[in-house]
Structures are given as C-alpha cells and as structure tokens.
Symmetry: D2
Subunit: 485 residues, 4 copies
C-alpha cells in the first residue's frame, strides 16, 4: 500500500514537515485567492464560496501544523483538501477546478522566496547603513591600506567602508531585480498548460500581492531562472561580505590591533588564559561561506534537469534555498552587530599610517611636482631613500632622501626637510587625494551623500514592497471574511 | 635574479601570453585616454602629448603580440612602458603619473568583460529570436508534454518554446544589468586611493565608452561583484539552456522521434552501421555544463580573498572568466544552429498527442461542466475509464467511459460518444486553453507579440551599446591622430 | 554582557542546539576516556577518578539534551564542565588538564563522521547487493542499450547493473579510505601544541575506538583533509547514483516502458486522472543532487581558510557535512527500495532489443567473418540494407541485405536469409559477446562471482569496524562503571 | 553537407585541436597494441600486422599534429584511419575489428589522466620533501601560533610544517588510490558491449601499462568515477595547499615579518616606490583556488548525465580536467620554489614567541603542578596577572602574578620570580610539549623519521609506476618494430 515505509520515511515525511514549517499559511491564502477568483469569474457560486470561506477559517491550522506524517495522504496539499471537503463538502471539490498542485507549489515557492528576498534586502541595507554611519564617524581615521597583503598607502576607514557599502548597495539592486523576477504569479498554469475554464490569472495575481504574471504557463512550472537568480544574488552578496570580513579579521589581529571587538562578542579559551577571540567575525565568515556555497549548491541541483515539471526544483530543494538565505542573513546580522559594538583603535591606526613607508607614493609625486623630476627619477630616488633610511620614521626617510639626492640627481634637493616630512604625512596623503571617489574628506562627503540617498531610496522601496504584500494579505483576509457571510 | 625560472614558467609567462591575447589593444586605448586626459587637465604639455601619441602609434604592436616572455620585464605593462620610453623619452615617463597597474588592469578586465557580455547578449538574443521564429511556425504543432517524465497533457511546440524564450529574454535583462555594473570606469583609482594629481576621472571614462564611474576608488580595485554578477548571469543562462537541451535530446530519442537533426549535424558510429547520433545537442549540453560550472568556479576563486588588491581577482583568473563566456557562446550557437536545421516531425508529435490518455484532464473537466459532476466524481470516472479502456485509442476510452458511468454515477452519461471523443481530441485540448500564457493560438499570438517586442527592444539596446563603444573608440583614435600632429 | 543577543541568536544558540543533537553522547565518552587516561598516567588520583566517573553518570543527560540556550555558558562544553564541577567539585577541575575544546571538538567531529561513513558504506553496500541480486535475476533480460541517447546495441539488464555495482564497490573503497583518514584520534593535541603534562595519546585513542593517531598535533586541529576526503567520497558516490537514476527514469518513461514502479512508490496527479508518476526515482535524483552539491559546498567552505584553528571547519560547518551524508543515504535508500519493488517488463525490453537495427553491428561483423568482407564493405552493406529496409523487422532487414549485396559487392551473399536473421537476433548478439566484462551469461557469471566476493568482503569489513566501535564503547562504559566504585 | 560550419567551428575544430595536443601519440600506441593483440589472438595475419606496423610508423605524425581541421573527417580518429588505409589498404581495415571510438577514447583519457596523476604526485611529493627539509632546519625556530587568528601558543616552524607535510603525504595516498582506479584498461569494451570477436582484453591491457581491467564493459564506457575520483584528489590537495598558503602570506605580512620572500620572487609596484610584494604566494593561492574550483567544475559537468555513453564525459570535458591538474601543479611548483628561496626571520619569530602572553597556558599548568592550584584557580590567576601586567614582557607578567597571588589565593606563591619567568619562556614551552605529535625536538624528530620514511616509500612507488609505463611503451614500440619486418 502506498506509501512504502522507506519512501514515507525518506521523502514524504520530510516534505510534509517542510511544508508545515514553510508553506502552510501561504497555502491557505492561495486557496482563498483561488476561490475568490473562481467566484468572480462565475465559476463558483456565492454560496459555495461562502462555504469554502468558512471552511478555510474553520480548519484547525495549528493542529495541522503539528500533525505527524501518517501516510494517509501524499502530502499536506491533499490533507488540506480532505479537511476542506469534510467541512465544506461538494463546494470544496469545486475549488479543485482550474488549479493543480504544480501551480500552487510554484506560487508558494515564489511567495516564500520573495519574503526572503525582502528580508535579505533589509539586512543588507541595515549593514550598509551601519557602514555609512561608521564612515561618517571615521572620515579622519587614517590607516595603512594593503595591496598584495603589504602596507601600501594611507587611506581612511571611511574610504574603505564606502567601498564596501557601495557594493552592498549594488547587492540591493540585485535583490531588487531578483524580486521582480520572483514576484510573478504562476497561478493558472495548472499542471502546465493552463485550463479550459475561463479563469482570470490577474485576479489571483493581484490578490496575492504579485507584481506581474509569470506569463507563459509552461515556464511557470518548468522555469527555474527565478530561483537561480535569487540564489545568485545571495552568492554575490556573500562573496563581498566574506571579502570584507577578511579585512575585519585582519584588523582584529593582535599584530595590527586596529579593531577591538566588544566584550559581548568575544569568546575565551578553554585552555589559554590570555585569549580573547574575535570569533564573531569568524563565525560570520563561515556563515557567509555557507550562504555562498549553498547558493551554488541550489543552482547545482537545477543543473541538467529537463525544462519540464520535475521534482528537482520542488519540495526537496526549497529548504536548501531557504537555508542559503537564512545563512546570509545570519552572516549579515552578526557582522553588523559585532562591527557596531567594536572599537576602532584610531590612535593605533593613525600611528601605523605613518610607518612602513606607505606614504612614499606621495613623496615621489611631490618630488615630481616640486623638483621637476621625471617619474622614474623621483621613484628611484624615493626607493633608494626608503632602502637606506634604516628606519621608517619620517625624519629618517627625509634625511635619507636629502642624503641620496646629490648622488642620484647630481644636485641637492630644493625642498626642505620639513617639506619632505610634510609630504610623508599620512593625513596630507589623504587630503590631497581629492579626486572623485578618493579618500579626502570632500570626496568622502560626496560619496556619503550619494550613497545615503541611495540607501534612503532602497529603504523606501523596501517599505513599499512590504506594505504591498501586507496590504494584499489584509485585503484578501478581509474579502474572505466578507465572503463567509 | 628576478624572475626565478620556476616563477617565470608557471606564472609570469602565462600572464604575459594571456595579456598578449586578451588585453593588448585595450591597453593602448587606455594609455591614449590617460594621455589625453592628462593633457586636458594640464598635467601634460601639448608637445609631450604629441610625442606620446606618436609613440603609441609607432610601437610595433604585432611584434609585441608575438613576443615570447623573456623575463626582462615583469609583464606586458612594463614592456610597453619600456617601448614608449624608447620612442618618446621623458614624455613617456610623464604618462606614468596618476595611474597604476592596478587601475589599468581593472579597466582592461572591465573592457573585456563588457565586450563578452554584449556577445553573450547577442547570442542569447539570436537563440531567442530563433525560438520565436520556430514558435510562429509551430503554433499548431501539438505534442504530449511531460510532467514527472510522463506524458501529461497535449500542448504546442510554440507554447514550450515561448516558455524558453521568455526565460532567455530574462537572461538578457540579467546580462544588461551586469553590463551596467561592469561598464564603469575604475581609472583614476591608481593603486587604490586615487592620486594627488588633479585628474578628471570622467574624462577617461567617457573616452573609453564607460557609462559611469566605479566611484569609490578602493572598491574600484578591491571590489569583485562586477565580475561575480557577470558570471552569475552566465550561470543562470546556462542552466536554462541546459534544461532546454534535455528536452531537445529527449525529443530526438528514437522512441519519441519528435525532432530529427539535420544531416549536417549528425555524427556516425565507428562501429555501429545503423547509428545517426544527434550529438550536436549533446555537445551543446556539455558546453552549457562547462559554462555553468566554470562560472561557479570563477566565483569560487573569489571566495575568502580579502577586500583588498590581491591577485586572486586578476591575471590568473580572467582567462577562466573568459572561458565561461566562450563556452556559453559555443553552447548557444550550437543549440541555435542545430535547432534551426532540425525538422520537427509534426505528424509523429500530433499522433502521440492523442495517445497515452494525455487529454484525460480535459475529459474530466468537460464532464464536470457538461454533466454537472463534481471534481472528484468526474476525475474518478475518467480514471476508471482510462484504466479499463484496454487501449489508449480515443474510441476505446469513450466506450470505456460510457460503460463505466452507470455503475459509478448511477446513471448513464448524457454526452454522446462523439462528444466524448471530441473532448479527448488534443487540438481541442489546446484550443480551449485560452487563458493568458496558455497554448491556444490566441494566447500564443499574444505571447509572440509581447516577446517579439521585447526582443526588438533588446536588439535596439545591443545596437546602441555596440555603437557607443565603437564610437568612443573611433573618436579616441581620431583624437590621438590629431594629437600626433 | 556576553553574549550579545544578536550573537546568541544567530550563532551560539544554533551551535548549542547542534551540539545537543549531534555530539552530546560522544562528549561524555571522550571525557570518560580522558579521565581514565589521566588516571592511568598518574595525573589523576583514583579517588578523583571515581568522583568524576560518578559525576559523568549522574549528569541528567536528557535534561541537558533538551535545555534551551540561555547564554550562561558559551556552549554545551562549558555547560557540562559546570555540571561536573557541581557534582564532583575539585576533581572535575582536574579533568580540564591536558585537554582543550579544540581537540575535544576535533574528536567529536571525527567520531560523528566515522559513524556516517559506516552508515553510507552500509547503504551503498545494500544497494550494490540489491543490484547483484537483480543482475542474477536478469542475466537473460535483453534490452537495447543507448549510446549518445540512441538505441545502440542489445545487452542485458545484468550487464548494465554490474557496471553500476562495480562503481558502487569502488565507492566502498573510497568510503573505507576516508574512514582510515577520519578514524584517527586528535586527542592530546589540546589547543594545538599538545601539553606539558605527560599524557598518553594512544590510551584515549584506543578507548574511543580510533584506529590510529592523527599524529601531528598542529594538523590535528588545523587539518581539514579528513573532512574534505569524506565529503569527496560522498560526491563521487552521488554522481554515479545520479547517473544510474537517469537510466532508471528513462526506462520508466511511457515511451520505453521498461521499468514499472511498484504501486507503493507511485504518486498521482492532483489534476490529471491518468497519471502514475515514478517520482520515487525523481526524488532520489534530487537527493543525490543535494548530496553531491552539498558535499561540494562543505569543501567550498574550507577554501581559503588558513591552516590554523578557525571556526570555518567547526560547529557552523558540521551540520552541513552531516546533511550531505544524510541526503546521500536518503537517495541510496529510496533508489534501492523503489528499484527492489519495481518490475522490469522483460517482454517489452526483449521486444525492443530486436528493433531499431540495434543488432546491426553483429550483422556486419558476421558478414566480415562469414563472407570474408572487409570491415568497410561489411559496414557499408549493412548501412545500406538498414536504410533501405523500410522497417526494422529482422525479416525486412535480411531481405534488404540480400537485395543490396549483388549491387554493392558484385555478387550475391552466400549466407542464407535464416542465417542473416539469426545474426540479427539480440540474444545471439549477447551470447557471442563472451569477452571478459561482456554481457554473455558466462562473462556475467564471472563478474557476479567477483563482485559478490567483493561485496562479502565489504560486509565483513563493515561488521568488523562496527564491532570495533561498539566494543570500545562497551569497554569504556564498563571501565567507567568500575571506576565509580 | 556535414559538418555544418557552426558545428565545425564550435565543436569539431576544438575537439580536433585538443586531440592533436593531448592524445595523438597515445592513439598510435593504442592502435599498435590493438594490432598486436589481434595478431596474437589469430584475428589478424602476420602479413597484415606487418603492413599495419609499417603504416603506423610511416604516418607523418608531426604533419598530423599541425593539420588544421578541414571537416573532411569527423575527427582525428577517422583521419588516422584514412591515413592508415592509404598506407596499408585492406590490412588497415582489419584493424577496425573489435574496437570502437568509445573504448579507444576511454583508454586515451585514462592514459592521460594516469600521467597527470603521476605528475601531480611528483610535485606534491617534492613539496612534502621541501617541507621536511625545512622542518629539519627549523626544529628550534620558535614562533607564536595562532588560534582564532590570535597569537595562542609558541610552537616551532618544524611543528607546523610537519602538520602540512603529513596532509600532503595523505594526498599522495589519495593520488595513488586514484591512480589504481584510473589505470585500468577499458579496451575491448568496443561501443559498450564488447565484441563477438574472441579478443583478449588482458593483452592490450598489459601492452599499454595498465594495472588491471576496467572489467565491466558497460562501465568502461559509461562510468565516470575514475575521473571524479582523480579530480576529487586534486580538490582535496588544493584545499590543504590553499590553507598553507594563507599562513605563508600571513607570515609574509609586514606586521609579522616572519617570512621574507627571495628577491627572485618579489614583484614591485608601478606606483609605490617602497613596495616589495610577496606575490608568488598570492599567485600560488589563486592557482590553488583555480585547481580546486576547476576540479569541482569537472565533477559538476558529470552531474545528471546518464550512465550511458554520452559526450558529457568526453572530448569537451577532458581539457578542463587537464586544466585542473595543470593548475594544481603550477600552484605546487610555485609554492615550493618560493618557499625554498624564502628566508625565515628566526630572530623575529623567536622574539614574537615571547610576546602577547602566548606562554600563559604553560604558566597556568606550572602553577597547577608546582603550587598545587586547581585548574580554575591557576587559570584565573594567570588571566588576572596578564590583564594587570601592563606589558607583555615576561618580567612584568611575573611581577603581576606575584602581586596578584596573595589577593586571589590568600597566600603568596612559593615559586620564585625566576621560576615564573622560566615558565613563560617560549622554548621551555616547546621543550615540555614532548607528547607524541608535539613540537618538542624529540617529538619532532620522531615525526620527521616517520614522514621521511613515508616520503621515501612514495618516491619508490612513483619510480616504479613511472618505470612500468616507460617499460611497457618501450616494449610496445620494440614489438611494433619487430612486427614491421
């Protein structure tokens, strides 16, 4: 007798539990919208609609949510049908017209995904806003930026953070694009070819808060790009987040000491009394890795399945898709929280911004401008001065430069030691980098303005979309209540 | 002495060859734009500009393109600098102001990627157009569509193809969004913090056909989402293509015989005299698999690298990114060519569309409407009739239905055998599915109109962007020629 | 105050719950083994050991397993320490010598992984045995095997199944190799450098059923190849399983009708009365896809983390590793169950094995031998005969061959029509393929013997390893009981 | 006319070029072995053999290797057949008996893969040997090891390196296991079902240096686990290599200064005069990332292809498989070369091994032993002392400890300040960690002995297998020469 216990244990019971956990409430909404549409198009009488509406309200949903899988129906879908029939009799059967598990499932997947896209959007925006706040605070916090893992040039914390937040704002664009792809109604596709009943697909679409139709009904069932695009957006966001976390972890290293995690985020060692581990960022990195690789995993599961209705894209896969969203959100939340509570050791950063010759670029450029040296001559002179300075102290570098010049240039420098030291100053370095997108306060302020405006616009969109879904849900429930009467 | 032979063999020589192959011409354009910008902003005199312009024109580029790596410079970049200095002396050195290998490389990567995005866009659009043409031709080519690998319902070839082309049109949207992210100029970011020279980043941006700035200079060097988004777009497109190819391969199977590959695309066997293998679709599937997994590979290489300038995103990786684009294009071109030359066996498709009870859904729905049966009663009656028909011949099913009705319903059916057989007709099945997005000719025509308009708009965008890049290049070269004088 | 609510919610509570679910019992075993080792090496007095042993027995483990995370300790590890101290006072503290969370966690991960490797081994072996049973049953079940998706040559179901079971037996080798890598004790590595206490690592190793030491203590904490190798073994197994499922799904297609799923495994449609979907194989395919991509996901999470102790390989990752094993096991179990309950339609297979010219290879070879034709002449003659036969009926092919011969060869064939038809017989085709590894009954029997012996050896190894772990556990618990006194 | 230009350009020409590059010489060996086997089993006369042998020798292989694809044959395989027929006439046709492109291709793939496995084995062994050499040299080079990115405990460079080399030696085991799976002959499988000719598969097997048969002929064509296992071995090795490179890059950071890259491996900046970038390790990391993700890519391409002969596993895929091996080898070679030429700054390492309280664990353990403190009391006391020391100077810590003791313990410590400082000494820390697998010189020597023996055994195996293949090839060529007469 169906189902075989092995099948029940390894497939049906899992799908039953997942459905209870993820889809149950949305299923009732979809059924309600379907009933109202059928009534609207004359395929269901007022009285039958009332019976169905009352049955939908009467089902003990919490009991259903907790019910163990008993094999008496294939799945929750048929279980709900059974309950509705028990409550509404023949009317419930009429609800089965012009719909299929296929299009209902597709609608439920999209409704859950759009929700998760909004949530990921919210969390990514929150992190971007935190970065903007921190950037505002750290416009003058100079530190030595690396290239090729080596101290390269001074810049400000604001400058780096704005680079990350800019990427996060682009992630928001990607989530938004994915939302537009996802938030289309597949309802009415039925099994795959729509139906001979004269239904109105735009009616269920609007009632359930969809923005548009997934028009071609074959694609409504067989298409997977909506899911792949959503996961790809997660993957790209997780990559940038992981990149950023590598910097935060580097800054947290004892040898750098730029970032000090808050007490509430630091874990101790079971054996080493001196340890204070900034593990929150490590956990966030792992969670971002999970989100990234899980997103790839979901996409991989879609690979080489046919453009047809197959289970590859259905109940077995969705929990993995939700997992990747969940892990991204955990990573975003932990990063944001740990970062907001961390302390930037400005003094240490600033001190190191003047060491290890990281301002040499500007010194060479200054020589080029002030002494009329060629690029090569200026750079070679600075390279020699750096090599012979004996110390990365600006005074030592200046002395070394002055000493080397006659030999290399055939003449002493015109610039004073003071002027040279000024050229080696990290804040000077930052100040003169006043090009669009650069670290100077003016350039940073312009970026802050632009990105803050973008963040505000993103917030508006989020509120609008959230309200749209909420409003649709409220109206649907209200309409259903009225239909009960 | 630098470079160590092992390092030269395994890294530098590869990067040198790749640079020669991919980036050489763009490098000269970037240098030209940089020179013109420096002159424009007063950082380079007219005469020096002329010397540089003449040197850029005088370099024997083909010789450079063929040169073996000899270790005398780190890379092509420095080699070009050397040649320019040999030709233009001190002027060439001045060209080194306000730029770095970092921002130049980033610009070259983006210029190549934008080109590949346009090419992938072109090929995906071409396939979509081919599908639209075929859909127009096969509006009445009925065949049995599968669900869960089993014949499910009749639909038309047009209906399926429009499902695929709709997804391809969404791929175009994704390529377009990726283009907008990619086609931003990183120039002026220099090593990572811009420069103290008062350059104008928007000047090089416009000269090189970029749409916008990658504004934050730190992100211009450290950011990777532009590359990840481009690869993600490839991955999503390759997934849908792979799905579609599974259907084409299924249709090509001897047991189906729906699709007959053209003679120019069929391979024989070295041992089996009877074989005619539709391997073109198989190759296309493998190429799509390569494109998909290589895109994931590129993204994987970016994972856990820091948000800094590191080689993880540079010369070693780019060839892999270009490979994924190349393989996608090969897959698209082969699919399109093989499909355009293949023959749909309409008679066979039509014949099978009336077998294996695939029209049972409509029969049940008809009983529901015509006989006033409940959903369950209609479906059970049809299920019994199907099981007892002994054959999938419509006449046999009709007879079985008429025989079963009295027992199951307690009364004979009112519908005539003729009416029942009509309800089982696959073309009837299609005709009544006149819902938006469905397979009826009317519904298909509406989709054709919509998608054709979208394809035309996509074509316009492609032409516009192609012209924009071409125009910028022509203007740049013209400006350079004028500067020589 | 530690922990920050965000950190607790998104990290610590997850890890707490996962620990309760996966590691709690093993932790108590590890602590017991550690205590006994400390006593054995004189680092712990008899009385303290007794106190600890009693405390380990007295802890309310079920309460602990259900406890919500309350933030009062970082994790379960410290919670257990707290409980032990409450019960055993100072003695419990002594248990903290010469151990760290790091080596304990590493031991727990390996203990769970070795268990899962044995389980996956068991399930893969069970499937292999089922395939061997089916192969024994289907030594004469001829069917047309495909190459390049087209009917190519007849073979037997046994022949194909033995190809799959042979690969599964190799999977067992890979699981076994992974077990050898995994089942090494990291205990005694402490934080990463071992300890100054004169402990005996081989003592805990033996008590916990490990086969060997993960000797280098740095690698015991920082190494990840044990996990990667285990996941790689899952990935390879899942790939072969997925391949096989594609064949089973193909055989289940209505157009082939070779394999008929058992009633207990078939799902119906919510809308199409005629449908009987072989979805069990589809679910198994999806689960195999999940296992494969999740295994890649785990490996991806390890990418670019340093060779150090970091959380990337720890609590956040392990559930994903267990998920991939779980999904592989689900896929194996469902495939095995559904296959064992399915019916091979031998008649249909046999009938199709004589159609579509799939025996043409043998006909050509026969002409080569019997008529002394060259390879090319024989193959061209057969190719022409096939093309002109008008039907794939053997009689028609024979007639076509006889008719074509004079024209192509300049002489009539010596072979009789009967002899030609015999050469076209699929069972003849199979019979003469008596080469090692081929489909003839003799060749198949030899393979069955060899593989059955390998399966028996695998079973012995599994029982031995299972017993070894069980025995170690029992001895440990007995030793602990004795220590209580 | 076949081939369609699009098909030729995007598929056949690629495969032709790849075949010329990778498989041409092996093809001639396989044909020779096949001819000799046919003669041996009486299926080919002596004279025909001689004709074939002479033809095989006479083909202008270099011309063939350079020939452009012209579409006159499907591929190189048929082109060689054509040339042989031109040279040997009817005899060449007889060579076509009992073989197919399928089994020949499968043999070629395995021959190339086994070669690459040996090469990867060689390079991984070379790196392991370099690490062992360095470990021997750095048994007393103390440095502070991290846990959770923070300085944790002193250990020696030897200790860490032995952890990595131990994993590399396990990689060798995995390569060896993969070699055993790969180095099995598929020849004789023909298209997929072997042949009716009475061939001897073990004859070609031995002549081509295979260790065994891939026995089941269906699996010989359809199986993919040999390729997947080989790629999985690459993936696991690349992961460990990547981990190690993260440590080397961390050590190379200016803030650590532990590892100084050799002059021949350091790249400069185009803009920053002070830069000396340890980019060789960065390139190696990227190449390891490529190898890892490309290995996953190959495995991904195999996903969801059927267990049949399809192109998914053939000519289009092999270059990607070879790429992953090539990139792994590049990564191994660059890591080894750059590391061998780098200088460990022992003084700096040693100095830092006494800072940041990394010896606190040992101090606590000493208090536990010497002062009879409980674990918790000792650890709390040390934690307080560390926090109040004001400096990480051992003298300061000792003073702080002595000062804190009375308050926390209610009594002064018995240990002298000298004894406390001794307990804080990093070399002392290392010396007392004399547990198996630990960092003490004795423990390290034991590991060195064990691993050196394993490396020697690996070297023997490599030489043996290399000689086996070489010997088989020489014998084959000699046999062929004799057959010419």
């Amino acid at each position: 007798m169906f189902p075989d216990p092995v099948y029940a244990e390894h497939v049906l019971a899992w799908n039953f539990r997942d459905f209870q956990r993820f889809f149950l409430d949305d299923l009732f909404d979809v059924l309600a919208a379907h009933a109202l549409m059928l009534a609207e198009t004359g395929l269901l009488g007022r009285e039958d609609l009332a019976r169905i509406a009352r049955a939908l309200a009467a089902v003990d949903r919490e009991k259903l949510r907790q019910a163990p899988y008993d094999g008496s129906t294939e799945d929750v879908f048929f279980r709900v049908d059974r309950e509705l029939e028990a409550l509404a009799g023949a009317a419930a059967e009429k609800l089965r017209a012009a719909r299929s598990r296929n299009d209902l499932d597709a609608a439920l997947y999209r409704m859950q995904l759009r929700q998760r896209l909004l949530e990921a959007f919210r969390d990514a925006l929150a992190l971007a806003e935190t970065l903007l706040d921190l950037a505002r605070e750290h416009r003058e916090t100079v530190y030595p930026a690396n290239t090729h893992t080596q101290p390269a040039q001074p810049t400000t914390v604001a400058h780096l953070l704005l680079g990350v937040s800019e990427a996060l704002l682009r992630d928001l664009d990607r989530f938004r694009a994915a939302f537009a792809t996802v938030n289309r109604s597949p309802l009415g596709a039925c099994a795959i070819t729509t139906t001979g009943f004269a239904i109105d697909r735009r009616s269920t679409m609007q009632r359930l808060g969809f923005d548009d139709l997934q028009r071609n009904s074959y694609g409504a069932i067989a298409g997977i790009d909506y899911l792949a695009e959503a996961c790809a957006a997660v993957a790209v966001c997780a990559l940038t987040l992981g990149q950023f976390l590598q910097v935060l972890l580097d800054w947290s290293k004892a040898e750098n000491g730029f970032l000090v995690s808050g007490e509430d985020w630091v874990q101790i060692s079971s054996i080493m009394p001196q340890k204070r581990n900034p593990v929150a960022f490590e956990h966030a990195r792992t969670l971002a890795s999970r989100a990234f690789t899980e997103a790839q995993s979901v996409m991989g599961c879609l690979h080489n399945a046919p453009f047809e209705d197959t289970v590859d894209r259905e109940d077995d896969l969705m929990p993995l898709a939700f997992l990747t969203f969940g892990d991204l959100r955990r990573a975003l939340a932990v990063t944001r929280g740990a970062l907001a509570d961390a302390r930037f050791d400005k003094e240490r950063m600033r001190a190191m911004a003047g060491r290890r010759f990281v301002t040499a670029t500007e010194l060479a450029d200054t020589l080029l401008r002030e002494e009329g040296l060629s690029f090569k001559a200026a750079h070679e002179l600075v390279a020699v001065a750096v090599r012979q300075a004996g110390s990365d102290d600006p005074a030592a570098v200046a002395a070394s430069l002055l000493a080397a010049a006659p030999r290399l240039l055939g003449r002493p420098l015109r610039m004073s030691r003071q002027a040279i030291e000024a050229a080696l100053d990290p804040w000077h370095f930052v100040l003169v980098r006043n090009v669009e997108g650069g670290p100077s306060p003016e350039a940073v302020n312009a970026q802050l303005d632009g990105q803050s405006a973008a963040a505000r616009a993103a917030g508006s969109w989020l509120r609008e979309k959230t309200a749209q879904l909420e409003l649709a849900r409220n109206r649907l429930h209200e309409e259903l209540r009225r239909a009960c009467a």
